[in-house]
């Protein structure tokens, strides 16, 4: 009984940790989002042809900015 509870608790903790890691990684993934006047949006994820053109420019812009405001 106690072992069952411990396993369930461990599974819950592992699930939460996995969700946090997945969310952080998905946030850190590079992407470019384009927003249009009609309210639509297109997102180019890292690895796409469009992102391969746009992300290097974004890197250059970020690198040109100072680290502190």
């Amino acid at each position: 009984m106690a072992a069952g509870k411990a396993i369930a608790a461990a599974a819950a903790v592992a699930g939460i940790a996995a969700a946090v890691v997945w969310r952080r990684r998905s946030r850190q993934r590079e992407h470019v989002d384009l927003f249009f006047s009609d309210g639509s949006m297109v997102s180019f994820e890292q690895g796409s042809i469009e992102a391969a053109r746009l992300l290097p420019l974004a890197h250059e812009i970020v690198a040109a900015a100072p680290n502190h405001p």
């Binding site: 927003f35 974004a58 970020v62 040109a64 100072p66």
Partner: protein, 160 residues
């Protein structure tokens, strides 16, 4: 609302938004108008790269049509994000910290553009006929509230 000087508007932008490291304002000819958070040389470089990024994004979406319709852009990298908002030829772009609150940054950039253009950010709603606001306004002018809007669809009790 009078237009605010571009440099002042960008300075306000970087002041109210700690997520923004740098901001540049570019006119319809692609010339750098003002910047905040960067040396002049850096700002010129960023303005040029921002124009290139915008042009590349438009090309990715098919050129002329995208040029008309593309109004905002966000490029996210682990080192920081690039935000861009366009409005009637003007363009404001910023570099932020990694993982910023995107909606907030877009809102601040749009507000900055409108401030530079001299547009009113939140137009004061017109008081309805018979409302307390209208009565107070009319009272301050020394006239009857209903006299200002004689044709508002009757005396207000049309549902009975």
């Amino acid at each position: 609302m009078p237009a605010v000087e571009p440099a002042e508007a960008l300075a306000d932008l970087t002041e109210i938004s700690p997520q923004i490291r740098l901001a540049v304002l570019v006119d319809e000819r692609g010339e750098l108008v003002a910047s905040a958070g960067a040396e002049p040389g850096q700002a010129d470089t960023v303005a040029r790269l921002v124009r290139e990024l915008l042009s590349a994004a438009e090309d990715a979406m098919g050129g002329a049509q995208a040029r008309e319709q593309l109004v905002q852009l966000q490029a996210a990298t682990p080192e920081g994000c690039v935000f861009l908002v366009r409005d009637e030829g003007r363009l404001v772009a910023s570099v932020t910290i990694p993982e910023p609150t995107a909606g907030l940054v877009f809102y601040d950039l749009k507000t900055c553009l409108r401030t530079v253009a001299g547009e009113s950010l939140a137009p004061k709603p017109k008081a309805r006929a018979g409302s307390k606001a209208e009565a107070a306004e009319a009272d301050s002018k020394g006239e009857e509230p209903s006299a200002t809007e004689p044709s508002t669809g009757g005396s207000g009790d049309g549902s009975g």
